[in-house]
C-alpha cells in the first residue's frame, strides 16, 4: 500500500506535494535574488544622483546654525499681553502694507488670468484638431506633437525666450503663460474629446449637418462643461506659474519675494510667502467650488459654507 496511489499511474505530468514544495522554494529563492539585485541597483542610482547634486550631511550640520538664524528672521516672535510668546504678525503686516503686497498679488493674478484667456483659443484649436475623432489618425499627430513640444519647454523658459519681445515685465510673463496654456490645456481638451459618446454625433450627423457643425454640436457640446472645469484647473496652476515667473523679474509677488531674498530681508520674504499661500489657496478654493458645481450639476455648497464646514470635515476624516 502506497501513500499516493495516483502518482504511480501518471508520474510524468502530475506533481507530488513534495515536488510542488521544492518548486515553490526555488521560486522564492529566485524572487529573493531579484529583490537583492533591485535594491543594489537602486542604491547605485541614488548614490550617483546625490553625488551629482552635491548632497552632503556634513554641509547640513555645518550650516544648520545659519539656517536657525534665518528661521528666527522667517518667524519673528513677540510676546502678546506681555506673557504669551507667539509669531509677530505685526512685522509681517508692516512689510505687506509697506510694499503693497496685495496690489502686487493683483498683478500676479492678472498675469495668470490674462495668460490663460490668451491661451484658450489656441488650446481649443490645437486640442480639437489633435483628437482622432476630428482629424484622421496620422494627421492629428501633427497637432499633438506641436502641443508636446510646447509642454517640453517650461513656462519659465518661454518667458526667457520672450524677453526680447516684451522685456523683463509682467507682459512677457503673460505671453509665456499663454503659450504654456496652449500646450497643457490643449492636451486636456484632446483627452476629454476621446471620451465622448458617438450617439449625439450620429444624431447631429443625421440632420444633414456639415462636418464643422457636427464637430461643434455633436462633439464639443458634450465636453463644454468639462472644458470650463479644465480651464479653471489650469488657471489655478497658472497663478503658481505667475509667481515663479516673478522670480526672474516678471513682476508681481514673485519679484518682491526675490528682491527680499537678495537683500537678506528674511522676515519680509516670509511675508511675501504668506501672501502667496493666501492667494493661491483662495484661487484654488473658488475654482474647486465652481468645478464641483459643474461636475455635480446640482447645488453645491457655497464657498463660505464650504469654509465653515472645513473643521468638521477634518475632524471626521481624522476620527474615521
Amino acid at each position: 500500500m502506497t501513500l499516493h496511489p495516483e502518482t504511480e499511474s501518471d508520474e510524468d505530468d502530475e506533481l507530488t506535494p513534495r515536488e510542488k514544495l521544492s518548486e515553490q522554494h526555488q521560486q522564492r529563492r529566485y524572487r529573493l535574488l531579484r529583490g537583492i539585485v533591485g535594491v543594489i541597483a537602486l542604491i547605485v542610482i541614488l548614490t550617483f544622483a546625490y553625488g551629482q547634486v552635491g548632497f552632503s550631511v556634513r554641509e547640513l550640520i555645518n550650516y544648520w546654525p545659519e539656517f536657525v538664524t534665518a528661521a528666527h528672521d522667517y518667524f519673528p516672535t513677540t510676546t502678546y499681553f506681555g506673557i504669551v510668546p507667539f509669531l509677530d504678525f505685526g512685522r509681517y503686516w508692516q512689510f505687506i502694507d509697506a510694499a503693497n503686497l496685495f496690489s502686487l498679488s493683483v498683478v500676479t493674478v492678472s498675469m495668470a488670468v490674462g495668460g490663460t484667456a490668451l491661451g484658450i483659443p489656441g488650446a481649443l484649436l490645437l486640442g480639437t484638431l489633435g483628437s482622432e475623432r476630428v482629424t484622421p489618425f496620422p494627421l492629428n499627430f501633427v497637432f499633438r506633437a506641436l502641443m508636446s513640444t510646447i509642454r517640453a519647454i517650461p513656462a519659465l523658459v518661454w518667458a526667457l525666450l520672450f524677453i526680447p519681445l516684451g522685456g523683463v515685465t509682467p507682459f512677457t510673463g503673460t505671453l509665456a503663460i499663454a503659450v504654456d496654456t496652449m500646450g497643457y490645456l490643449g492636451r486636456l481638451f484632446t483627452d476629454e474629446l476621446e471620451e465622448i459618446e458617438s450617439g449625439p454625433i450620429e444624431g447631429v450627423e443625421s440632420t444633414g449637418a456639415n462636418q464643422r457643425q457636427t464637430v461643434f454640436f455633436g462633439m464639443l457640446s458634450q465636453v463644454f462643461r468639462q472644458y470650463i472645469a479644465w480651464v479653471l484647473f489650469i488657471l489655478e496652476l497658472n497663478v503658481r506659474v505667475a509667481i515663479t515667473l516673478g522670480l526672474i523679474g516678471a513682476g508681481g509677488l514673485g519679484y518682491q519675494l526675490m528682491i527680499q531674498r537678495q537683500t537678506y530681508q528674511y522676515t519680509n520674504m516670509m511675508a511675501a510667502v504668506i501672501v502667496t499661500i493666501l492667494l493661491v489657496s483662495s484661487v484654488e478654493i473658488v475654482s474647486q467650488r465652481v468645478r464641483a458645481r459643474l461636475r455635480n450639476d446640482k447645488e453645491a455648497p457655497g464657498t463660505l459654507e464650504y469654509l465653515a464646514g472645513m473643521p468638521d470635515r477634518f475632524a471626521q476624516s481624522v476620527f474615521r
Binding site: G199, P200, E202, G203, V204, E205, S206, T207, G208, A209, N210, R212, Q213, F216, F217, G218, S221, Q222, F224, R225, D297
Partner: protein, 265 residues
C-alpha cells in the same frame, strides 16, 4: 415616394440584408418588424445614408439617396440628443443643414426657424419644457425631443429605429402616439422599426417583416396574422398577446445539487 431596389448589405461574411425591395407611398406609416439581428437597423441606416449598402439603391421621389441628408430624418433608440442642451436647442439642431456654420453656432437663425423648432416641440407636447435641459428629462420626453428634432428637418421621409425599445409600456405608447400624430400632421412618409408586436399592430398602417436579412412579409393590418408573427419571431410564446400562462416552473430548492461527500469520498 420611397423606392428601395435590391438593397443588400454584407458585413464581411454576415449577410445583414439580402435583395430587399419595396416601395413606400407618400404619407404612409409603415412598421418594420423582425427579431433583433434581422436587419432592421441596417435597413434604416442604409435608408438615411449613415451606412452605405453593398448593392442596390434607395430613391426618394426619383432622386437617389446616398449620404446623410436633411430630407431624411432619423429618430434613434438611444435618442442621440446632446444632453447638455435644452430641448429647444436640440430641436433647433434639426435645421443645421439649412444654415452655415457660424450662424448656427451663434444661433442667428431667424424668427421663422425658431418658430419651426417651437412648433415641433408643441406637436410632441413639450412646449412648456422647451428650456429644460435634456439630461434632466425622462426617457419618454427625451424621445419626443428626438421626434421634434426630426420634424424641424422638415423631412420627406421619417425613420425611427426602435424608438420605444428602452421605454416602459406607458411612455412607449405616448411616444408612439406623438410619432404617429406628427407623421400625420406634417404628412411625412414614416418607417418605424419595432419589436413589440402589440404596439406595431396598434399603430401601423402597413407592415414589413424582415427575417435573416430578407423581406418575408409586406401587408396591411388584416394580413398581419398570428401565423405571420410566429414566422417572424420563431414561435415565441410571449410575443403575441399572451393567452397562456407560463407553465409552473421548478423552484430552485427542487434541484438536487451534488453534495461534498459525493464528490470526495
Amino acid at each position: 415616394m420611397l423606392e428601395v431596389t435590391d438593397l443588400t448589405k454584407h458585413y464581411g461574411d454576415v449577410r445583414a440584408l439580402e435583395d430587399v425591395s419595396f416601395t413606400l407611398n407618400d404619407g404612409e406609416f409603415t412598421v418594420l418588424l423582425g427579431q433583433s439581428g434581422a436587419g432592421k437597423s441596417t435597413m434604416l441606416r442604409c435608408l438615411n445614408g449613415l451606412t452605405s449598402p453593398t448593392a442596390g439603391s434607395v430613391a426618394l421621389d426619383g432622386a437617389t439617396l446616398d449620404n446623410s441628408r436633411e430630407d431624411v430624418a432619423m429618430v434613434f433608440q438611444q435618442h442621440n440628443l446632446v444632453e447638455g442642451f435644452s430641448a429647444y436647442t436640440n430641436a433647433l439642431t434639426g435645421s443645421l443643414g439649412r444654415h452655415p456654420f457660424l450662424r448656427s453656432v451663434l444661433q442667428l437663425v431667424g424668427r421663422k426657424e425658431k418658430l419651426t423648432a417651437l412648433d415641433a416641440l408643441g406637436t410632441v407636447g413639450l412646449l412648456d419644457e422647451a428650456d429644460q435641459r435634456v439630461a434632466t428629462m425622462s426617457g419618454g420626453q427625451q424621445q419626443r425631443v428626438g421626434i421634434a428634432r426630426a420634424l424641424v428637418q422638415q423631412p420627406d421621409l421619417l425613420l425611427a429605429d426602435e424608438p420605444v425599445a428602452s421605454l416602459d409600456p406607458g411612455s412607449a405608447e405616448t411616444v408612439m402616439h406623438y410619432l404617429k400624430t406628427a407623421a400625420n400632421e406634417y404628412d411625412i412618409t414614416t418607417l418605424v422599426s419595432l419589436h413589440q408586436v402589440n404596439i406595431a399592430a396598434y399603430f401601423g398602417d402597413r407592415f414589413l417583416g424582415l427575417k435573416d436579412g430578407e423581406l418575408i412579409f409586406d401587408g396591411g393590418p388584416e394580413e398581419l396574422t398570428p401565423g405571420v408573427v410566429d414566422e417572424l419571431y420563431g414561435d415565441v410564446e410571449t410575443v403575441a398577446l399572451a393567452e397562456e400562462t407560463a407553465p409552473d416552473r421548478k423552484t430552485t430548492t427542487d434541484v438536487t445539487e451534488p453534495r461534498l461527500q459525493e464528490v470526495r469520498p
